[in-house]
Symmetry: D3
Subunit: 244 residues, 6 copies
């Protein structure tokens, strides 16, 4: 029975939307008895559409994880920029799931190259930078956008699905064998389901995959390696940057 | 409720050992109602310790998958050489799980580099070749061996665990953040559990990970991309190479 | 005086066509006194247009090489998928020539990047996979097709040559400095000669290059390294997978 | 006449040490009339010895740059983890100098591979991650440590220089042609000068190189490309994450 | 006070043009008291538009450096093919600046990928070869040409600037974040300034950057590493190939 | 009937030694009627043990090729630094064989990685630079030396063979599957034959392989691609750098 925290790294979501996502996240679970709690941070951006917002979301993420990790078995960072991952893993004992990293891990089992489809041009270089950090630049056929701000996605679902289908087809021309949704708000609108019938290649939903990866690692009793994510001097951190 | 075939690509296992593995594989499942069936091929090697045996196991694998895939939701190729994967995916509609590929996908979420620990020197170049084909050569710190033939593993469990611990420590010196067991018979002896307390880095068990990956892909409704694994001319194949 | 076996890894060729190829292969020889014998396997596909057929051709190849290698100085695997190469080299003492590998070795002396021109889309990912295994993905500008099944090539020679010229020009736009014919049946139709005047870049014929490579290695007294292709337990193999 | 901000991304330095560094930084200037101002952030870690501290330093950096960039011609982020670089460049119009990036740019002109010598094991993976993000993993021979916390460096100068010489010699055995000091506090202790006579390879001081790089870019009239660092929606940012 | 030699590796320039370049090069200096002397070789090509001319320029370069290095603090090889760099560094004690290498070092601080814009198609493969030797092939988005011989550049300034703008825009479509002028004669026509207003990305002028790099290395007291550029047997060289 | 020029790029060889090499080179031929002529340049180094000497050998090579190519079918540059290859191919219509490039092409057919064994430490970085230019750095396990100047090799044959065996064994520990002799004088002492019985891996002799490669390309009617080696403006070259 694993308890998973899905951490929204911003302050923009309504209580209602959080509940909606929690219900969906729970529906993605495989193991009976497992559960997902959706929670947000106390400081952070309203949405993440730039490296600035991505990095400004990290302190809230780290403080929250430090405070609540004892009550959970795994934590998912709820942003497709995978913000703060190395730091979060350093201070966490429980597995920290990075949605794009988990999506890539899935994509590698399904085909040679993948494309990422995200929201806006302003975040595209940050995604390439993320992929390079993962050593996955050569496996990415392209990063494409539906050209819609995060907070406008829900209100423009049809247009966004159309854009996803159009860009997905272009991504296949770029050489993509699979598509990764590069935005968690897109993922919780279940765009993989909406666009799936209109595209011939697998669409990977990072919200679903993150929940599965969290369950898997917990049940395997595996967490990140201290070779790559060494335990920092926690006393020093709690006396300084992690102090509220 | 997904039904997974774990296909042993050889003819060496006793009925009893098959049942033992089936029970274990079922214990690795996360979803209630899911099941794993362990079955073997009708033609193939007694064990796989060379590229020759690896490739000689492929016809049996392909014929079996072609015959039984309608009765299953996913199939795991039960060998850490991932034999015949591209071909198996071409002719299969259901997801085909490659144990080392799935283990790498897990390892990438846990640390920078991994090492593979397998049985004998004679199979080491084949593993490097496999990793190169996956584009993962740079992520592999080393391939090391416990120096014990597959069929002697069960009878030398203590010695093999000792060797696993010794080689695992050397692998960490090589730069490995995680270890992948490079043999399914080692995996079903649960060497990750036996050696886990004596090593400071995560040990990835390909048998466990394969079952999890199969469940995950089935529940996500995802299978391999036809961009990378195009559907062959099945009529031609069934009239020729797949004919019994 | 070296005696070279050109092994057709399928059962589709008529005796007449085998004789025609043998005469041609002999005409590619440089050393007087050398000879090429064309022979086929006893089990295998009628033509190779998928990974399935490629891998199903391997057992026939391995058994034949094991049986006849004492009578030859080198063996050429007669398929541009280079099927079964690691295994064939493990069990062979004489050099085993892989036509695409030998063609790449030649291409590297003639220009920066090469493109492969093969028959059908269904085999393109298998060729990329082969190139990745050789560490040559970055050197390949593109893999293109003439869109004609293997068994229809001879009957559509003009159309195929036209397609080769068209695709060859596109390959040069892709960045190719040289072209490799990615099908042995195309090679034996001498498409390099037919298209040569209409293309400004070298066309590498894998049949010709394979014969030259075989002669060269034999006369240098060189065979593959046991570091990469370790000698397997032959007694075990002959008692199991290599037994007829 | 360029005015350069050297921004200390932490709150640990005494006013006196800041003045000392400012005097040194000014002494590194090439152009007469140019000046360096050393300033720190209002929130941040006391020293940076983990990814956690590195990422917790970013909000202070970004807010400061946003507030003061109009008064300067270039800004140097005073930490050898190059914290927050993509985000800092997104919101900055003036060039933002990353000390390790600038040191690598210098190292590439002096030899094939470099090694980084930093303070503690706990920060080594973060440096490898940084190098991977720069596409420079293959050019780095090793990352080594003097094994001394940042705040203890000044009080253990002799011991640290000895360690630098010892590790520098090991780095040359690793294949390094040049050495990069991987800590700004080491750089301001002028360890390149202290160890220079005892090592046969160039030692690159990131503090000195950063000042030179800042001067150079300003005098060339060059700043970072908006292709890689697109201008974010500043109105949104100033209404949210950049608001004090 | 550093004295820099800018060595023109050919015999084509008029005394007047040499003086013009010297005045410009001096205007690129940052440090007061520093100076640049422009000089040419006694044997060499009239302009460099092929690998042949590039390599034929090397003996003149090496002999000149050997003769005059005692009178200078650094030397710039005045050709964007960076001719003879490894050899020049072997025999030189003072830093030898390679204009394209220095430009890449600058480009890496400004954006992800760069494109090189040079004169003629005949020199494009040589530039790719140079980039490959620097390990920078993956960072180069494209190499493009203004299609004008070196000696015709000055007389066709408007047309060349137009071509630079057109090709620069195409380079951005290729993925370039920055542009490097791939010809020193283009650089001394100050094409970065002429085209700068019409292009949205930084244009890197190798003449300016080379002067800055020379000043920087001299003032840092750094020269190339003997690990990569070992000191040759100078007695042997002066008795043979360096003898006039 | 092909006529091959083996061009010694230096002035150090006695007429007698040239004749000895010519006889040996002819003995490496496969095709009856083919011939090798050994000739040297009129200007160049006495031996090549540094990048300086390598590059100083190029003008002599280029002038000779330009003058004599009409009388030959292929030319081998007789130095294991492959000096001047891009330029030689630009101005040559006949195939230009680069001994190390040809040896690598052979090594790739025999095993995964190779090591190069050359004469002196002073030339090791030049060989790594050459390999990087060929995109082969990752395939090279190590470059090792017998520590003997070129001109002392013949007089110290036993010691050199011992060193070759010792270094060859170390190279195998480095991961080498094959060894390439990195010096043509070593090659003409037939060190592959002398050391062959004492080493378990293939030793590739660049002199032998170059003769075979020349014969092969001539008989295939293939020469280098003008995509990579564009034809320069020959009129300009002959009026300037190629003029005697």
């Amino acid at each position: 029975m694993s308890k998973i925290l899905y951490l929204v790294p911003g302050v923009g979501l309504s209580e209602e939307e959080m509940k909606r996502r929690e219900a969906l996240a729970c529906s993605f679970l495989t193991g009976s008895g497992n559960s997902v709690v959706v929670d947000d941070v106390t400081e952070g951006p309203s949405s993440i559409e730039s490296s600035v917002e991505e990095l400004m979301s990290v302190p809230g993420i780290l403080k929250k994880i430090d405070q609540v990790q004892d009550g959970f078995d795994a934590v998912i960072i709820g942003c497709a920029g995978d913000p703060g991952i190395p730091a979060a893993r350093e201070l966490s004992r429980i597995p920290v799931i990075a949605p794009v990293e988990a999506s890539i891990s899935t994509a590698l089992m399904l085909g040679d190259k993948f494309s990422v489809i995200t929201v806006l041009d302003s975040i595209v270089p940050a995604i390439w930078h993320l992929l390079r950090g993962y050593g996955m630049e050569q496996r990415c056929a392209s990063v494409r956008v539906v050209d819609c701000p995060v907070l406008d996605l829900a209100g423009n679902k049809d247009r966004v699905v159309d854009a996803l289908v159009t860009e997905g087809k272009r991504a296949v021309e770029d050489g993509a064998a699979t598509l990764i949704l590069g935005c968690m708000s897109m993922a919780f609108l279940l765009m993989d389901e909406l666009a799936g019938d209109r595209l011939d290649v697998p669409i990977i939903n990072p919200a679903k995959v993150s929940v599965k990866a969290a369950e898997m690692l917990v049940s395997l009793g595996l967490s990140h390696s201290r070779v790559t994510f060494p335990r920092p001097n926690m006393e020093k951190l709690r006396g300084s940057v992690l102090k509220d």
